[in-house]
């Protein structure tokens, strides 16, 4: 199914490129810090440095919002904070629910960065009856049975899933059915959602794997290049080796049964007409110090 082109999903929302939207929170954070120090204006160069991007990119990004700077001077900090906040929709209140109050859910509930950005934890939901009523971060945990009523009573449109992988899809469906249209998924699963629902995922194990890839490259290079400039790198200790148990030889072409269990010919591959809505420019991250 779903062979033809699926949704349409414009990559630029309201004229602002996704890549730019993903960086606005970064600028906002840097600007907020400057604002707290009562710095009146910043140049694109300074702000870019504080946000970790280059100045050309920053100026291009701001140009999509309008001409908020002053040539020869820079940007007015307070004014920009307001403009970006408005653009991101942070001038209004966003009630969110967190489903799955385990270690991670509790960490998220305790995150202070919420309130300061217009996000309010409306409820904590868990499937464990023993958790019901227990206070976490000052909020009493509620049982999954009440999910639907919590969503509609509070007008929640953003949900955070911090459940085990197995429960994620079901929780997702209930959230969506109840009216949630934006989901932040921490479970290591590909969620299938209908058109019009945004899903962003945060998956630690994937982040580590990407780091491992680059780390491996460095190790290889290190051995290869030696005549290169003497980098002031700290002494890299020898890495304890370990090899995958089964090197798995190239599968024979002769239609023999390569798989362990020959039975179950066409196992039901989980179909998933998932909509990929994570913006380009991968970054985007986030979280809380305990």
């Amino acid at each position: 199914m779903a062979t033809g082109r699926t949704h349409r999903l414009p990559t630029r929302s309201r004229g602002i490129p996704e890549a730019t939207v993903a960086r606005l929170p970064l600028y906002l954070r840097a600007l907020t810090a400057l604002s707290e120090r009562s710095v009146p204006t910043v140049s694109s160069e300074e702000l870019a440095a504080a946000a970790g991007v280059n100045s050309a990119k920053l100026r291009k990004d701001f140009s999509y919002l309008g001409s908020y700077g002053t040539r020869g001077v820079g940007y007015d900090v307070e004014y920009l904070v307001y403009q970006i906040s408005r653009e991101l929709g942070l001038t209004q209140d966003w009630p969110v629910v967190i489903v799955g109050i385990g270690n991670l859910g509790a960490a998220l509930a305790n995150y202070g960065g919420f309130a300061s950005r217009g996000f309010r934890v409306a409820a904590l939901i868990d499937a464990d009856p023993a958790m019901a009523g227990k206070p976490v971060a000052g909020i009493a945990v509620q049982h999954t049975d009440e999910l639907e009523s919590i969503i509609s009573d509070n007008g929640v449109s953003i949900g955070v899933i911090a459940t085990p992988a197995g429960a994620a899809q079901q929780v997702c469906e209930r959230l969506v059915a109840a009216g949630v249209t934006s989901i932040l998924n921490f479970a290591p699963t590909v969620l299938s959602v209908p058109d019009g629902v945004d899903v962003r995922k945060v998956d630690l194990s994937i982040e580590l794997q990407i780091l491992a890839f680059h780390e491996q490259r460095k190790a290889g290079e290190e051995a290869a290049q030696d005549a290169a400039q003497a980098g002031a790198t700290a002494p890299a200790p020898a890495r304890p080796g370990r090899v995958l148990p089964d090197p798995a030889a190239r599968p024979t072409t002769a239609g023999a049964t390569t798989g362990p269990a020959p039975a179950a010919a066409t196992a039901p591959v989980t179909s998933a007409d998932v909509r990929d809505n994570q913006g380009p420019d991968g970054d985007v991250p986030a979280v809380m110090p305990a």
Copy 2:
């Protein structure tokens, strides 16, 4: 400073595009699931659906690794699992340290997805003396004083920072000085690191802000378009409004003091020659159910 072009940083490591590297863990997860069900082969269409991407992209991605499929048939599951694992560097053991054992640090320490991918939590480190010796996820927390010796004794090259924002940069510098060359940063701060060190960031507050942006757009559209097709959307409850306290008028051009505190003219903007190493295609996610 740093006006000219800085580092060089090739966007394609060893011929494999960053965007592809970021998706390999996704494929690996889907393949592992198939492997556990003893499914011998998959087509690009099936695997793509399970991983949440489209088949053309998947085939293109695999083509960078080599020709591991069989035309007219598909891909051998076990063989692909091995090839991708090797490419990602998961055939070796990666000891990691987690610094900052608060709510989040504990959640990370308890994450089961680590071991299965070749990552091993070598140590948990916290600055609070009261935490020292306490077991978290079966591992005794160690004091920050021992950071350097832990890194070098265990040959750690990957560090996870889960400290409050204020401590992150300092911890980062100590990790790097001790030999860590890859960092996963959960603190809401832009880390400044020397060339050759990779940093990936995970920031919940930013993810939520991006969702809020799209959510806001939906609300606006909803009001604008009405003659459109009748979407089978659930009844969207009215959103409680809230407006930013200070609308902040466009700053006057007349060089008056717009900022609250006229003093501190040129406050020291945090300089940061940060290297942006988050791969393109922003996705990349990851984490653990509690």
